[in-house]
């Protein structure tokens, strides 16, 4: 088999961090290579170097036998590399055609050749089975369609090596299967593919060969048919990390009860008629593909939005319009989806972030003045109890690693002994060690009788932690299933919106 791509000795440092350490990798014609690794292993950095977003500190790249000049996306594109970014690089206010045309014509041209582009786009879309409407605005497309546009962008520029960064992160399982079928089809058309993933099952089912990155180093390469998930897991994590397991225990009384809650104006509902109950000592998992109403559910239970209809009761009082402070005051805790944009103010110190939610409580302020000593003592306690490393109360919060920042956010919520906790994507972007730490904290809080609602896009996590699971699809919730009955097959169907509709849905 001919090598289409060779990376040799790639090294990339960011300050003290070595993101890629002497990494070498090759790709054969018509091959699907999976680049497997934990979050932070350096997969995306490596591919960004290949595509020219970054310049490597050492090493070189050969593509179709030619040296690829470093740090120039344009050179990479012209040499036949296409990249489908995890966070799509699309302009939402512009059309599909606009997004695809950009950069395909020299800027000095006096007129865009729109009709020619349209014809070629439709041809390519037909050939690869990726139908799109060229004149649709990106903002009107579903996530799956947007990914299609992202792939078409690369194909339109005649990519022969296609890189996909976590392509299934935003897809439901049937969609993901369809995507991998399309990718297989593409290899028959002469393309070679690299896809980045941290999910073992899709690596096993979709790739020809696996390269495993750990801590910035290439630790192993395997032919997929000659390896197994257990071996890959061990290679990926490198050490034996046991995630804690949920133990059966007695579940208490309902704490949070949502009945027929809708959010958003009736013509554009973000949540439609959802009902759920969370009981003391129980974790209720909400699973679903990204963008199906999780954000609205998170905002609702954080007190940032109010229901437009239905009732939300916390410990028997109306919690619909309490707002963040009111919820906290009534025994609720909230762990936000994105710790960097919502969880902490990076420029402030750890102690300020630790008390920000409860600044107005007499514990932390007196007649409008902050009780600094009390605040700092409290923060020092959190650092100690939740094992937040590399921190003093006065450290600027943005200096914390992702895992430690998440422990700070969790700590400020859990140290308040909340009766209800919203936990939204608690382990996104964390490595195995940090994930295990977060999980054991969550289970400990459950053991102490907290009622928890866990929103997660990681099925494995939801199944491991939750007592019961509901799926969220297009702003609606399925009926709950007990975790014991939630096999991957059934959850996959639920997340695709296939569940037995509750009785009242048929009533009208």
């Amino acid at each position: 088999m001919t090598k289409v791509l060779e990376l040799t000795g790639i090294t990339k440092r960011f300050g003290a961090l070595t993101a890629n350490d002497d990494v070498s990798l090759s790709l054969a014609q018509g091959e699907i290579l999976a680049l497997l690794g934990e979050n932070g292993a350096g997969k995306t950095t490596l591919m960004n170097i290949l595509f020219g977003h970054y310049t490597a500190d050492a090493g070189h790249i050969r593509l179709f036998g030619q040296d690829l000049p470093p740090g120039q996306p344009r050179a990479a594109i012209e040499a036949g590399v296409g990249m489908v970014h995890q966070h799509f690089t699309l302009a939402h206010n512009l059309t599909v055609l606009d997004n695809i045309m950009l950069g395909s014509e020299p800027l000095s041209r006096l007129r865009s050749a729109r009709s020619g582009t349209r014809t070629k786009l439709i041809q390519i879309a037909d050939r690869f089975g990726l139908p799109v409407d060229p004149d649709a605005k990106i903002s009107t497309l579903s996530v799956g369609e947007r990914q299609r546009v992202e792939i078409l962008k690369a194909l339109y520029r005649d990519a022969r090596v296609l890189i996909l960064d976590e392509p299934t992160a935003v897809l439901a399982r049937p969609e993901a299967q369809r995507l991998f079928e399309t990718l297989r089809e593409m290899t028959r058309e002469g393309l070679s593919l690299i896809f980045i993933s941290h999910k073992l099952h899709e690596v096993m089912s979709a790739s020809d060969r696996v390269a495993v990155l750990r801590g910035g180093k290439m630790v192993a390469e395997r032919v997929t048919s000659q390896t197994n998930p257990a071996e890959l897991a061990e290679l990926m994590v490198g050490r034996k990390v046991e995630r804690p397991m949920r133990q059966a225990h007695k579940i208490g009384a309902p704490v949070l009860v949502a009945k027929n809650v809708s959010v958003g104006p009736s013509e554009a509902r973000q949540l439609e008629d959802v009902s759920f109950i969370v009981r003391s000592g129980e974790i209720l998992g909400i699973v679903g593909v990204s963008g199906n109403g999780q954000a609205a559910l998170g905002a609702l239970l954080s007190g940032l939005t109010s229901p437009s209809s239905g009732s939300l009761m916390l410990n028997g009082i109306d919690a619909a319009r309490l707002g963040p402070r009111g919820l906290i005051g009534n025994g609720a805790g909230r762990v936000p989806e994105d710790r960097n944009t919502e969880g902490v103010v990076g420029e402030l110190s750890i102690w300020e972030n630790a008390v920000l939610e409860r600044l107005r409580s007499p514990d932390f302020s007196h007649r409008g003045f902050v009780r600094r000593t009390a605040c700092k003592d409290y923060a020092a306690g959190l650092i100690d109890r939740f094992d937040i490393r590399g921190a003093t109360p006065d450290t600027r919060t943005r200096l914390l690693s992702g895992g430690n920042m998440q422990k700070l956010v969790l700590g400020r919520v859990l140290s308040n002994d909340p009766q209800f906790v919203l936990v939204n994507q608690p382990t996104r972007g964390l490595d195995e060690g940090a994930i295990a730490a977060v999980h054991s904290e969550l289970l400990a809080a459950r053991g102490n009788g907290a009622a928890m609602l866990l929103i997660s896009e990681e099925l494995e996590e939801a199944v491991a932690l939750s007592d019961r699971i509901q799926a969220i699809v297009k702003g609606r919730l399925s009926d709950p299933v007990a975790a014991e009955e939630a096999d991957p097959q059934r959850l996959g169907l639920m997340m695709a919106g296939i569940w037995t509709e509750p009785e009242n849905a048929h009533a009208s």
């Binding site: 300050g15 954080s302 007190g303 940032l304 707002g323 963040p324 402070r325 906290i328 909230r334 936000p336 944009t341 919502e342 969880g343 902490v344 103010v345 990076g346 420029e347 402030l348 300020e352 920000l356 939610e357 600044l359 107005r360 302020s365 409008g368 003045f369 902050v370 600094r372 600027r396 200096l399």
Partner: protein
């Protein structure tokens, strides 16, 4: 060589940065002074002598620094909360106008009247900024443009008032408003100079603003909202209340500048009584890196440039517009120099 984010900013860097910025600005302006056929060193020496060379010069400079401290604080607190109040000039004038209007007829003793008039000036400034803050919160209208446009409206309004209802019949030449009653003139700080106790008020204001920002719940919420509004809102900080609170405080400080200037220096209001105190306040705040304590120092520096440039102009013939050029350059160089508080150069 590359830029790298600093973990902590050493105090030495915090102090050095504005000094480097000022040095760079003076260096750039030196070219323009040389273009006027004057040795820049001579010119700067004249400038220093003009602002600091005598007791009288120093009091003049401090008189000029007084309103700059107030407007600098107004900008600093607003910018901390990412509220772009560029309207301190207008707030200065409404504060001055309210003080003159009430202070002309108010029949109370001075010890009571002066605080009342200061409150009036603060209220006027606060109300003027409350408008743009409301428009931003209610309709999403960018406050930069509205506060800027209000400056022009206010200046015209001042003109209207001092040529009409508030005209001083005794004033000759330029139209001026009726003066505040003699009982409400601020006592001199140094006898037989224009320097008045307003300077002490300004320094006290800096202390209070520092206290509010650094030690109170409101201050902590303001800083949180300024750095990361989304996270602050998630933590339960009410953004509308914070923004409105900051607007009222910032407007009040700028209004107070006008009020104190009327009671301390001009007695009546004229359209030319501010050589751009409001706009210069932005530079004062930036040079202080938005720290209230630093505002006092940077206001003194800017006042030195303004007062010194007049003297330099008389002595060397360099147009005194050079002061505005230096001040503007300071803003730009400081903006660049601030990079070094968050980044450092690594090779």
């Amino acid at each position: 060589m590359r830029l790298e984010r600093r973990a902590q900013t050493p105090l030495s860097v915090v102090i050095l940065v504005p000094l480097v910025a000022i040095f760079a600005a003076l260096l750039l302006a030196a070219g323009l002074i040389a273009a006027a056929g004057v040795n820049p060193l001579t010119a700067y020496a004249e400038m220093l002598r003009g602002a600091l060379g005598s007791r009288l010069a120093i009091t003049e400079m401090l008189t000029r620094a007084t309103p700059l401290i107030f407007t600098g604080l107004a900008a600093a607190i607003a910018f901390r909360a990412r509220l772009w109040n560029i309207g301190a000039e207008g707030q200065f004038f409404v504060g001055a106008l309210a003080t003159a209007a009430i202070g002309h007829t108010l029949g109370v003793p001075g010890w009571l009247g002066i605080p009342l008039l200061m409150l009036a000036g603060m209220a006027a400034g606060a109300l003027l900024l409350a408008g743009p803050a409301f428009l931003r919160l209610r309709f999403g209208v960018d406050e930069v443009v509205t506060t800027l446009l209000l400056n022009f409206i206010v200046i015209l309004f001042v003109g209207l008032m001092i040529e009409g209802p508030m005209r001083d019949p005794l004033a000759f030449g330029w139209p001026a408003s009726v003066p505040v009653d003699g009982a409400f003139r601020l006592p001199d700080l140094v006898p037989r100079t224009r320097l008045h106790i307003g300077l002490l008020f300004a320094i006290a204001a800096a202390g209070i603003v520092w206290l509010v920002l650094a030690r109170t719940v409101f201050g902590a919420e303001t800083r949180a909202a300024g750095f990361n509004a989304q996270a602050a809102a998630f933590a339960g900080v009410s953004l509308p209340r914070t923004i409105m609170g900051v607007a009222l405080l910032s407007g009040a400080l700028a209004g107070l500048a006008g009020s104190v200037e009327v009671m301390g220096v001009t007695a009546g209001v004229t359209t030319t009584m501010s050589p751009g105190f409001g706009y210069a306040g932005i530079v004062v705040a930036m040079l202080a890196a938005l720290h209230p304590a630093g505002v006092v120092g940077s206001a003194v520096f800017i006042a030195t440039v303004f007062v010194g440039a007049d003297a330099m102009g008389r002595a060397t013939g360099v147009p005194s517009f050079i002061a505005d050029v230096i001040v503007a350059l300071c803003l730009l160089t400081m903006l660049v120099a601030l990079l070094f508080t968050t980044y450092r150069i690594r090779r």
